[in-house]
Amino acid sequence: MPVQEAADEQRGERRDTTTDLPRVLTAESRASQSSRTELLRLMLLARSLEGRVLAIRNGAAAGHRRRARGRGSEALVGAAAVLGPEDRLFAPDRYLSAHLARGLPPETFLLRCLGSRGEAPEADAWTVGYASPGSELIDMAAGAALALQLRGADGVAMAIVPGECYVTGHAAEALRAARPRKLPLVVVVEASPTVELADRPDDEVDLSDVEAIGAAARKSVEDARHGDGPGLLLCAASRQAAGGPLVNGAPIADPIERELKRMAVNATTRELLRPLRREVRAEVRDAMRRARSLDAYWRRQGISTA
């Protein structure tokens, strides 16, 4: 019996939640206004959720104050958005927008950050992400790519990792192992300007440009899917820079602002943003309510859902 059939048979009881995952950026819709709006919504949602978590944490009597870890890297949603239902994503929690694109329920993120996971709705079973810096997620993505290849599946495994994980050598090692086997693996590195990659990236794009990231990621994913082997995509900027320090004397463009400007050719930014912000605010409020109702910890702590 082929590996594919046997594995399916033995894992028959496992819930596959990927079939209805959204593929935000399809080949046809990439430049369309609706897909841009969806990408923008996901970036706004990620920023808003993380901001909400930080506000609660930083207002708490105990514990240490935290900075936004994912702020400025929301445009990486462009990479995750090109993945299909059969693909796998391995990324740390800080790339929340990527996880949201893969169907992570917002309340699951809130519960994970602020309390126990309680009875949170399960995230996409094929999307792995947690608070680790992420270097081992590259190894895992390589293993998943191997499994997909052995099973004869059409999927691609993608790892999104920060540059500091790349320099530990894990990505170079995984790519070296993946190349001779032509594994369907794509490694996306979010790098500060000082990171030097041991491997020459297949493409290099601006971290604040969600559409450029999406286009480059789509090419890498499709190449990997068609048997051309692994891809390495560098998204260069400083993660800390958005709304913060300068890089090379100039402020780094905010990915949300940048996308808004691009979309505002035929409409004012305010007209575009107002309904979206309203929608995102409502979504965060609902997620907080659901999270609170699901987790006894929150109820005990009296954490407000307002």
Partner: protein, 317 residues
């Protein structure tokens, strides 16, 4: 079920072969420069083709890749040479355990953990005690078969378990020959085994120390020898029942005194069977073999003497 005499490493190979024939989701991930921990899977490349996967990866990366393959529907077996099984590999296992806990993932993978490097490369080797590092990673089962029969049975059971399992394979046991049931033999993963019955004192050991404890027990009367087999979780019922019967316990440790399995078992007995004890629990830390005993075939008379003396002192009160 009939049985035959089989070497320890051949028993592991037999179980792997049978499970790979039974379940085509089982794949072997090995370092491409090999060899595997004890030569058990030599020839598997010819038998299983693409399911024998040599990778140009370090030991820790192989464990990470196996976790990813498990998340994508396979049941990988990791083969890492002893020289590669260091702190980084154990760190990767820690991450795997964290993923299983925080993401509630079931990652069915088997890691063959080589230990006891002194047996193959000299008395100076073997300073790393992986079993000690693995304690506390509750999402990972840790088993240490001491006989070829258990090696076969526990390997087969590990390959049907839904979560990660570390199979500790001590180099000193690789050539041990014993009776092994033929066919699809399986040993439960969480159960200890009474090797020899007695009513005056319980000696608790695992891995190659079980043989040493058994030899020490023959020098005294009424000694019960208990083979832990499962280090995580411990078979508390069997341990406590034995200690309740004998009232005295010596826990043999080859890995040192502090923060080891022996300390954990000692704490368990003190907490849960204190009223039944006639004497305080005792840890017997056996010395690693020196070059002379390795040259003499690994008899380790010093270790046997340490166990026997600990037992005698405790019985004498």
């Amino acid at each position: 079920m009939s049985s035959t005499q089989v070497r320890y490493r051949d028993a592991v190979a037999e179980a792997l072969r049978m499970e790979m024939h039974r379940d085509t989701a089982v794949v072997l991930l090995a370092q491409d420069r090999g060899p595997d921990p004890n030569g058990a899977t030599r020839g598997f490349a010819g038998l299983f083709g693409e399911r024998f996967v040599p990778l140009a990866l370090s030991g820790d990366a192989i464990i990470g890749a196996a976790a990813g393959a498990a998340a994508a529907g396979l049941r990988p077996v990791c083969e890492i040479p002893i020289s590669e099984f260091g702190a980084r590999a154990l760190g990767e296992l820690t991450r795997v355990a964290e993923l299983c806990r925080t993401e509630r993932l079931e990652l069915p993978l088997l890691v063959r953990v080589p230990l006891g490097g002194y047996a193959s490369s000299g008395a100076a080797d073997g300073a790393l005690d992986p079993e000690t590092w693995l304690l506390g990673l509750e999402e990972i089962r840790v088993v240490a078969p001491a006989t070829p029969g258990d090696a076969k049975g526990m390997t087969a059971s590990a390959l049907r378990h839904p979560a990660p399992v570390c199979l500790l394979e001590h180099e000193a046991l690789g050539e041990v020959v014993d009776t092994v049931p033929e066919g699809g033999h399986r040993t439960p993963l969480g159960e200890a085994r009474i090797v020899a019955g007695g009513d005056r004192l319980t000696v608790i050991a695992y891995g190659p120390a079980v043989q040493l404890a058994t030899r020490a027990a023959t020098e005294l009367e009424g000694i019960e020898v208990l083979d832990l087999r499962s280090l995580q979780p411990l078979d508390e019922v069997t341990i406590l029942a034995s200690v309740a019967r004998t009232g005295r316990v010596v826990i043999v440790s080859e890995a040192g005194r502090s923060s080891r399995i022996a300390g954990e078992v000692s704490a368990l007995v003190a907490e849960r069977a204190f009223q039944r004890l006639h004497a305080q629990p005792r840890r017997a830390v056996i010395p690693p073999p020196d070059s002379a005993s390795l040259r003499a075939g690994g008899e380790r008379p010093r270790a046997v003497r340490v166990i026997a003396e600990a037992c005698s002192e405790l019985i004498a009160g």
